[in-house]
Structure formats: C-alpha cells, structure tokens
Symmetry: C2
Subunit: 325 residues, 2 copies
C-alpha cells in the first residue's frame, strides 16, 4: 500500500528536549510517515566546549531517530569508545563533559559547518541526512538561546550555565530561578513559521520533557509561543511527572525548589491555557478532575516508556487523543 498523498496526510509537531523527549519522538516517527512529523528541539542546553559547538538535545534526538543512540544511557552513541577523554585526562584537560570518540565527529562537523557560515538548521538537516534520518528535525532557533540557573551553591548564590549546573554539578544546586538568555530576541528557525500555519497541521505535541529546562526555552521565544497558541491545531502535552516523581532527571526536584508540588496537575497549570489536551499516567487519574475544570481535556494511559512498543503505543494514543479535540 503506498502512502497517502501529502495533501491528505495530517502533519504533526513535537516540541522536545533530549532523553525524555526522544522516546516519544521515536514513537511518533515510527508511527507517522516522515513528512508528517516535525520535531522542534530545545537548544537552550547548547554550549561551546573544547572549542566545539555542542547541541545535546538535537544530538540525542538525531541519534535516537537514526537508531544509533546508546539505549542504556539514552544519549551518546552505542558501542562508543572514549580514547579522546582518556587522552584529555592525561593532558590535564577538561573531562567533566563526556564526549565519546565517534560522537566527537558530530561536534567537529557541526563546528566546521557553522564556522563556514551554515545555519544550525542547515547543519542539522545535513547531519540527519548523512545518518538517514528522514523525520524533519529543527532547532528552535538558529540564534543562541542559553538556559541559565540562579542557584544556591556550596559557595553561595550563583548563576550557572546549563551544563555547569546539569552535568558538572549533577543538578545538585538548589534552583531559585531560570533564565533563557537571548530567547526574547531570538528569531525562530526560519522553517518554523510555515510549520505552525500549515493548514494540514493536525496536532502540536509537547513531549514529556522537563517543562522548565527543555520546553520553556522553546516557548520563551515569543513568536514560537504565539504560533503555538494561535495554531489551528490542538496542543497536547504529555506529563513528565508520574505518581509525583519525574520520569527522568531533576524535574520533580526543581518543581519543589520553585515552590510547586511535583504533580501532573502542577505541570498542566504551568503550561496553562496553551494546552487543549493533557495526557497523564493512569496512576494519576485522580488528578484529571481539576485539570478538566481548568478547561483542558485529559486522557490517561500508561505513559512510562520502557520498550519501543511502549513508545509506539503512547504515540498512537496521543495521535488518537488529538483526533478527538
């Protein structure tokens, strides 16, 4: 059976961060035709390290979609070697951010192409093409947006760059506030505008990524938030909080530090009137009432994704839920 012609294939957008977002991204990519899915990645984690332009979430999404990700860690490459890090350690260099040898090729190539004047959108398209990733993967912007965290650290209050907080300090410092430096003046990636005004757009999904660290940097770009809000398609988020705990990473810890109770409901409140629908885990079904009262449709299912089947099942569930809105 040949795929449906483009004009009758509904299209979908996913806003996603790294490891958590990549699970739903893979589920959707395996369920939809390539032309039916655009993934918009957080680049607030991007940074320059050892002279290399590193885009952790773009790479995690790309490696996951290419089927080459290290499935144990959720990031980096499978069957990786670590000789360069061993060499850097011997030379007294910086090794707190672990870059695998084969992964280094991605950063070298990205850095080279950016320096040659290509946009991050173009570089990402090129890298995806080389890795046979057919799904459209876009950075939220070609201009830098940098997530910074106002924290209480062991040595007093400090504003930490994202990777300093997240990797070097293992997300241990207490977070008081989060800034998305550059977001208010960053233009969205050029390819985004047509995506949101596409008359065939059927749904905008927000992955179960950390709302504050992975999704808010995307929505902090004013025209992206406005485009999501005014798109002619329902906006559906998947809760990253299940049973009061984060699926991955420091989401629950950060919510507590920001004075919020870690719950699916608090996440729905945070996204607020941006949402038309919200997918919660079946174990949180009791929280559905207040969210529905706030005017957001709720659907409950098993949201924890261990296997590829889990990813595809949740993707199908989300697509079905979107069709009802």
């Amino acid at each position: 059976m040949s795929p449906l012609p483009h004009h009758v294939q509904p299209r979908h957008v996913l806003l996603a961060g790294g490891v958590g977002g990549a699970k739903l991204a893979l589920g959707l990519a395996r369920t939809l035709q390539p032309g039916q899915l655009t993934i918009i990645a957080n680049t607030g984690d991007d940074f320059s390290h050892l002279g290399l332009a590193i885009s952790p979430d773009l790479d995690t999404l790309m490696y996951t979609l290419a089927g080459v990700v290290n499935e144990e860690s959720g990031w980096g490459l499978r069957d990786e070697t670590w000789s360069c890090m061993a060499g850097l350690e011997a030379l007294g260099g910086e090794t707190w951010f672990r870059l695998g040898d084969r992964d280094l090729a991605t950063h070298l190539e990205r850095t080279r192409l950016l320096a040659a004047g290509h946009s991050l959108t173009e570089v990402t398209r090129h890298l995806c093409s080389q890795l046979d990733v057919a799904t459209r993967l876009l950075p939220m912007s070609d201009q830098p947006v940098r997530t910074r965290l106002d924290c209480d650290t062991a040595s007093g209050p400090a504003t930490l760059a994202f990777q300093d907080y997240f990797v070097r300090q293992r997300a241990e410092p207490r977070v008081k506030a989060i800034q998305y430096e550059g977001a208010s003046r960053a233009p969205p990636a050029a390819a985004l505008a047509a995506t949101f005004t596409d008359p065939g757009l059927a749904a905008i999904f927000i992955a179960p990524s950390n709302p504050w660290l992975s999704i808010d940097p995307i929505l902090a770009i004013p025209s992206i938030r406005a485009a999501v809000r005014s798109a002619g398609a329902p906006v559906i988020a998947v809760s990253p909080i299940v049973g009061g705990r984060a699926l991955k990473g420091p989401t629950a810890k950060i919510m507590t530090e920001l004075g919020l109770r870690p719950s699916a409901q608090a996440v729905a409140d945070h996204y607020g009137d941006l949402l038309d629908g919200f997918i919660i885990d079946q174990c949180d079904a009791a929280e559905a009432g207040p969210i529905i009262d706030a005017g957001i449709a709720v659907a409950a299912t098993q949201t924890v994704m261990h296997t590829l089947e889990d990813r595809q099942r949740l993707a199908a569930f989300a697509l079905g839920f979107a069709a009802t809105l």
Copy 2:
C-alpha cells in the same frame, strides 16, 4: 652517581622535523641529561584542520620522547582507536588527514590553549610536562610559517599547502619550488635566542630529516639561520640520504625534481658553509672527499636507525664527533 652540576654539563641543540628527526632526538634524549638538550622543531607543516591547530612535527617529537609513539608508523599514538574518523566518514566529513581518537585530545587541548592566548611555546611546554617529557622541545617560532610547494599536478601547475601535498596527494606531484610563507618576518620562539648564545653550547645538530621540507623552514627564519651560523659551537648535520636513497619519505624524489642528484654530497652542498661537520653513512664513505674539500669535516658510521640501540649509538657517535670539532 649524581648528574654533573649544570655549569659543567655541555648543552646541545637539535634542529628536527618529524619521524626521521625524532629517531635521533630520542637517541640524544636517552644519552644526555634533560637539561643538556634543546630540540627545535619545524612548524612549517602545521595547519588548521577541522578547526584544530595541528603541529605534526612537534607531536611526533613529543610522542617519541614520551615513549607513547606508534613505533610502526613513527607518528601518532600506540594503541590508538579511530572511532572519530569512522564517525566523520559516516557524516561525509574530511578524513584524508587521519587523526586518532586519543591524538585528538592533543589537538583539542592545543587549540583551546592557543585560543586562550598562550603561545605555541607555552602550549608545547605544558603538553610535554603532562606527558613527562623532560627534554626541552621548542617550536621554531610562535608565529605561523607555512611550507607551500609549487607543483605540477594532474590538473596543471598549483601551489599546494604542505599537508595537501604530503598527505592528501601522497607527495606525488612534481615539485618545482618550495616557499616558507611567513618565515622572513617570523620571530624565532623567544626561548631560542639564549639557547644559541649559551656559552655552554657544545654542538648544534641537524637531524637526518628532509632538508627541504623539515630543516629549511627552520633555517628560513633569518635570525635562526644567523644564530646557527654565529653560534660558538660546531654545526653537524646527519645525512638523510644513504646510498642515494632517502631514509624515509620523498627526500630523494624532491632532490631529483629540483635537479639535484640524491646523494649525501648534495645534501652537504645544500647546507653549505653552515656546516662544520657532516655525518654520512659508511656506505657513502666514497663521497667524503669532495665534502672535506669544501671545508666540512666528515665522519662515517652506520646511520640507519632501526632499534633504540641504533638511535643511542648514532647519538653517542654524533656527540663524540662534535667534541673533535
């Protein structure tokens, strides 16, 4: 037995390129105390590749002195992995210049330190210190000098950057002339001046490296040539041509292309009145006469260095010969 105090330890300088020069460098380093030897490395082969500052001869000398060089190839690191190159190949990147994974750490660290404002001399000292290399290894200059070759290529006459000629085109194009771009205005590395005027300087050796590609770039810096010429110590070269053939690389081929007969005598002629002594292989003993007639002392021995013992024996021979001049 404790080493002699510094003021009675004679000091020595070696001008060297990469693989060929590193053999004599190691022999001298194993024979002398660390404070007795300064190695001045050719940086005419240096280039920027994949955004990295690469200094092939400095690295070959450093890795050789550190005992970590790949002894089979003479360059790069032993027990190296090649994942990054495999990754670059998959991404359609440039792979003609082979960079091992652990070796990449050296280039990343050098690039980072240079970008932070350190000189190549300082960076080299730091890297050597981290690898426990006690011998003083200096770049000829902290400013770029770039060897370029006027060649006849398959697509007509062209001026090729050194690594393009040497690695990408495997030294196959016919060489018509060689330029050392930047040499005439490059200041020698700051540490060099005192080395050449050191009253304890006992000898200046020129390694059996390619005279045109490895030694001439050093001597093309006017003040280095002048310092070698006016130093109060004999200058002794070891012939890189044995029995009319090069010990390694394209020396004989280039000599022929430049209209010279590949012979020890032609090398002695090339260095000319810079030399006080010349060490030739015993198989070239018949060439001694004309060289001696030109006012250069000649000593013949086995110059081909297969083993570590060969390197140390030739070093001892050169030191002994220098003491007679």
